[in-house]
Amino acid sequence: MGLFASVVVGFTFLINLLLGFTAYNNNPKSWTNRLLAILTVILASWTIFNFFALLPGNEATRLFWVRIVMLVTSPMGAVTYLLASIFPKDKFSVSNKKLSVIYAIVLVTAVMSMSPWMFTSLKNLPNENFSLTPGPAIALFAVSHLGLTTLAFIVLIKKFRQSKGRLRFQFLLFLLGNIFTFTLITVSNFVAVVFLGTIQYTFIGPTFTLFLAGFITYAIVKHRFLDIRLFVVRSVTYALLIIVLAFIYAYGFYVIGQLLLPVHSEISEFLITTFLALVMAFSFQPLRRFIQRITNNVFYQEHYDAAQLLGKMGRIMATNILIEPLTAEIIKQLLNNLKISRGAFLLLKNGNLNSKYTDGFSGDILSEKDLQILVTHVSQDKAAADGIVVFEELAEGKIKEVLRKADISVVVPLSSKKELIGLLVLGEKSSGNVYNSEDINFLEILAPELSVAIQNSESYEEIRKFNITLQQEIEKATQNLKAVNQKLKEMDQLKDEFISITSHELRTPMTAIKSYVWMVLNRHADTLTPKTHEYLDRVYKSSDRLIRLVNDMLNVSRIESGRVILTPLKFKLLDLAEDIKREVQARLAEKKQTVTVSAGDPEIMVLADREKVQQVFENLVGNSMKYSPDGSPISIEISADKGFAKVTVSDKGKGIGKDDLSKLFKKFSRVENSQIAPPEGGTGLGLYITKQFVELSGGKIWVESEMGKGSKFIFSLPLA
């Protein structure tokens, strides 16, 4: 009983008061906290008065302090029981009847404590020891104290078994605090006193109350458990170790002492002590390992290697690009390794639920409204750096209610570039335990990586869907185009048919008009006045032009739809040229123009469709006549060269400008200004048709012209 004891007692006293103050300060309105504060005050008082009682002094003083100890400890059992009953709630919810009984017991015990009924007398012994003579009330004390404490135990065990998560751990802490405190106090204040016959360790007893006060305070005050878990585990390990060793030592000493009782001497005591010291020295390490393994098994059943698991997750994320297998595999790993009951990914788009991947959760998990509440909370949650929401750590409120309804224990926000892309929600642990710091740390590290992986996956998915849509669109468009194309083809065919039929129907009456006018002009001219002759001549020319127009249209339509059929025959070009000359004779005479036909070899034969070649001649000669001044000569020259016959139709007209040359053979091209526009006009199709016919016949056509010097149209045809 020296300085050491004083320090230990002082320390215990102060720590107890500090813990009580912390608990009370943490939430003064909570009855759990209040009761704990009361308990710590009792424990602190016990520590200090116990110390006073143990101090050397006269018997009366010592007896007084013993009685004071009894007084202050008399409500200990009751307070412990009440604390266990309402723990960890804030409200005081013990029935009045029960409370009255408890009050009565405590009151009676307290009153008895100060009377000789509890301890009749105290007798000083050597070595500053003392012995007490208990009175009958000691039984009351024992019964009330042990009974209420046992009841507290029963309540706690019941609660522990029925609870899960953080609550479960809180009860566990409470229980452990109780167990250690009582066991250790038993060792120091009972085993030592009874078996060793010494009270020199009794002063330590109250120190062990620190376990109880500390554990309960921690259970109430602290939020997350990993760090304390390790502390608790190590504390438990060493406490158990000390207890076991103490028993071995005490029991060994006792047993061997009994055996060697006859030869009780300094030497034998030395031998025993040495022997036990050796036993302890050798058994310390194996024992420690053994106990550690047991405690680890109890506290760390869900242990996993975070680094290894992170590596595994990384591989999963690297090898899965499709969102479904990725999320499924991640959830599977989380559930298996962290021993979680269920998990789900809720992926968001513009703050709304976009897709959901779940394992174990059923239905919608969260209503739309609840999800919005949660999303808002997570987005605004700037307090927590990691943003992870843990159900157990939330104060009662809207969010906690939402999570409780959905059976969600943990919400991990997944963000990319500060934008919330989804939530990983996890259910409670299968073991009923609470998520510890290691779990939360693990999820914290995993979250950003997971966010990136999921976003990549979503992007990929989007591109994939876009591709599919695009393909569908293209197919649809192609189908449309095909349909439109088909329709166009049909319409084109209809147009050709229409032109074909129309032209036929038009030509028959026009042929009649033209022929009858011809008859009047040529067979009955004597009946005409010069005026009517002139008029009918114009009717004749106009009807002729109309027929040619219809023919040209028909020809173009046939050329473009590829329906021109050639009937190649052998014939002499010179004959055809002479025919043309004869045909145009009348018109030549009108304009006083002349046509000369010449051939290098009069026998030049070609293989071609005569009618088409005739049209070519007619067009070219007709043009020359049309665009040449009156009285000018026109020549047709026929020659042969390298398998081709060549026909040159020359005139002495004004010629064609360079700009016009290039578009001469195009459809509806009318040469501007280069020629005197003839009254009969043209369709603008003549040279186009001419070119097509020449080329269809296997020849070529071109033009040589110079302004003021006339034009030369030259075409070739394969020789027969």
């Binding site: 032209s503 009456p509 009649a512 033209k514 009858y516 008859m519 067979r523 027929i547 023919n551 009618e611």
Partner: protein, 137 residues
């Protein structure tokens, strides 16, 4: 030639059949040829023409191709099947319009002597063509 009793430039003896469904054109051709001194018969479709051809003999047939009842090609086919073309050494010149290449080609395959595109020719030209074909052996 078989009934060409009066040889020479006078065409009185030459018999020509005009097969044409359009009345105005048919009248025109008939009148024109008659004025030129030919003996002219006419038919408004292939069936009548067939009757006439099988019952009479003609030096030349001017045959329109597009007709409502038995078009020109059908008549040619029927005549060909009955071997009249070869037996009578019938000279047929097709009257046609532009844009009927396939039909013309088909007509040529039946051995017609030539074709005249109605809209492109003047009555004069028709007469010269008729003269040209009649003069051929």
């Amino acid at each position: 030639m078989d009934n060409g009793t009066n040889a020479g430039p006078v065409n009185l003896a030459k018999k020509i059949l005009v097969v044409e469904d359009e009345q105005y054109l048919r009248d025109l051709y008939v009148e024109l040829l008659k004025e030129d001194g030919y003996e002219v018969a006419s038919a408004i479709d292939g069936e009548i023409a067939y009757d006439l051809i099988t019952k009479n003999s003609y030096d030349l047939v001017l045959l329109d191709l597009v007709m409502p009842r038995m078009p020109g090609i059908a008549l040619l086919k029927k005549l060909s099947d009955q071997d009249h073309l070869r037996k009578q050494k019938l000279k047929i010149v097709v009257l046609t319009n532009l844009g009927q290449d396939t039909v013309i080609a088909e007509a040529i395959s039946f051995g017609v002597r030539g074709y005249i595109i109605k809209s492109d020719v003047t009555p004069d030209k028709i007469l010269s063509e008729v003269k040209y074909y009649l003069a051929q052996p």
